[in-house]
Amino acid sequence: MERRLFNPREWSVLLIVALAAVIWLALSRSGPGGTRAIVERGGEIVLSRELEGLKAPETVEIEGENGVSLRVELSEEGARVSETNCADRTCQRTGLITRAGESAVCLPGRIVLWLEGPKTGRKLDAETY
């Protein structure tokens, strides 16, 4: 008589358990991804773009409050405000931001460009300027 380790019903249970384990592992290892450029306008996120894998620099026009508009340039290296019609120009002068936690703020237009990174690893908790 042939000896089997598990009967067919037990095999199906084992298969479900194994499948669940694989899904759980895949989800837990997918991680937070790389650095993302986020643009907030008046407290609401209007743009969120993964920077890793950008083959060429991208530019995005953002309309802010008080007639302020600015151009955001995104690349694998980081993000910057490349142009603005705001007299203040503080955000443009901030230049290229490359590290998670850094930001370029346009107060008159209520627009904030910042970089978001993985929850773990090297990132800034805050910035002083």
Binding site: I97, T120, D125
Partner: protein, 351 residues
């Protein structure tokens, strides 16, 4: 007797099921309890005090603590901004007249900042209002006429801010005006951290513009990483690794205008009425935890301005007298770090 007990028992299979159910219930209860009582991380951004406010809060009620912090900052702004209708605006409008009764917190803030004005020899002067209004860096900055600047400068002087023991304040002469713009963002960080304590928050970091408040032990261990803006380039120059406290920076790159080919930065020397020319482009000040002042955040903010005006040597001396630390960056890009920050500041990547 033994036979009766055996009869009362459930069959083995059913007992096992019952036991399994009890364990499952216990486990479910434990998971639910853990979920409800766990500490969460919450990020909140807002615009307050003419600045971008960023908070990351860890605790059981981070949403409430974060929202309360923003509300507290808005109330503080109303109280200490000369543009609003709180105590500072009232002191200004009654200058040369009747004293204004103050809350305990406002009286303490004014007392500590007047002391800083004194100890810095007027490199920070909280009565610079008549001069800052002429330059109007926030709305339409312009180079004032020499005669109007001279007249405005004659209406300044922190020694003429009278603070009485019964918590009232007055400016001695009509036309004088307080301006707490140089310490407001730091004071806002103080307000937020006070709130975190009330809500028993485990850890938090708040940035009001470029002033930063660090509260509690950073989750996951280690020091907080605070980037220091590069005054001449892009992004951060380096990273400060700090256990807590308050950090503020004053830099000539942050706000300026150009007229007739000359650049005018917003950091005014109260002794001349013109932008400070001390050979520095940026000063970052850290007030470590445990300083014996009520407003260490406002102090870090005010010290950064005072040190920028004073220059490297006098600035370092002032910091030492307070037990604060700093990073001085000159126009020639020389970087000087005070002793207490040696090993805590890393150029470049850091972290």
């Amino acid at each position: 007797m033994l036979t009766d007990e055996r009869k009362a028992r459930l069959p083995l299979g059913k007992r096992a099921i019952l036991l399994g159910m009890v364990f499952a219930l216990l486990l479910a209860g434990l998971i639910i309890w853990q979920f409800l009582s766990r500490e969460r991380e919450y990020e909140l951004t807002a615009f307050a005090m003419g600045s971008y406010v960023q908070q990351t809060v860890w605790g059981r009620e981070p949403e409430t603590a974060g929202a309360e912090a923003v509300q507290g900052i808005e109330e503080l702004e109303r109280e200490i901004s000369w543009r609003r209708d709180g105590s500072v605006a009232l002191i200004n409008s009654r200058a040369g007249g009747e004293p204004v009764a103050l809350s305990e917190s406002t009286a303490e803030l004014l007392a500590e900042m007047r002391e800083l004005s004194d100890r810095s020899g007027g490199a920070l002067d909280i009565t610079l209002g008549p001069v800052t209004r002429l330059w109007d860096f926030d709305n339409g900055p312009k180079l004032p006429r020499e005669d109007e600047l001279r007249d405005a400068l004659a209406l300044t002087g922190w020694r003429e801010l009278e603070l009485t023991p019964d918590r009232a304040a007055k400016l001695e002469r009509e036309g004088m005006a307080l301006d707490l713009g140089a310490v407001g963002k730091g004071a806002a960080c103080d307000t937020a951290l006070e709130g975190y304590q009330i809500y028993r928050i485990r850890a938090a970091v708040i940035a009001v513009g470029g002033s930063v408040g660090l509260y509690g032990q950073k989750p996951g261990g280690g020091d907080w990483n605070v980037g220091v803006r590069d005054p001449k380039g892009s992004g951060s120059l380096g990273v400060l690794n700090l256990p807590g406290g308050f950090v503020s920076t004053s830099g000539s790159y942050e706000k300026y205008f150009e007229q007739d080919g000359r650049r005018y930065c917003h950091l005014l020397d109260p002794r001349t009425g013109y932008p400070a020319e001390s050979g520095l482009v940026s000063v970052t000040v850290w007030c470590p935890p445990g300083m014996d002042v009520k407003y260490p955040g406002a102090l870090s903010d005010g010290l950064a301005t005072a040190c920028f005006v004073l220059g490297l040597e006098d600035g370092m001396e002032l910091l030492e007298s307070y037990g604060a630390e700093g990073i001085f960056i000159t126009e020639d890009s020389d970087i000087t770090v005070t002793k207490g920050l040696e090993g805590r500041f890393t150029l470049g990547e850091g972290g």
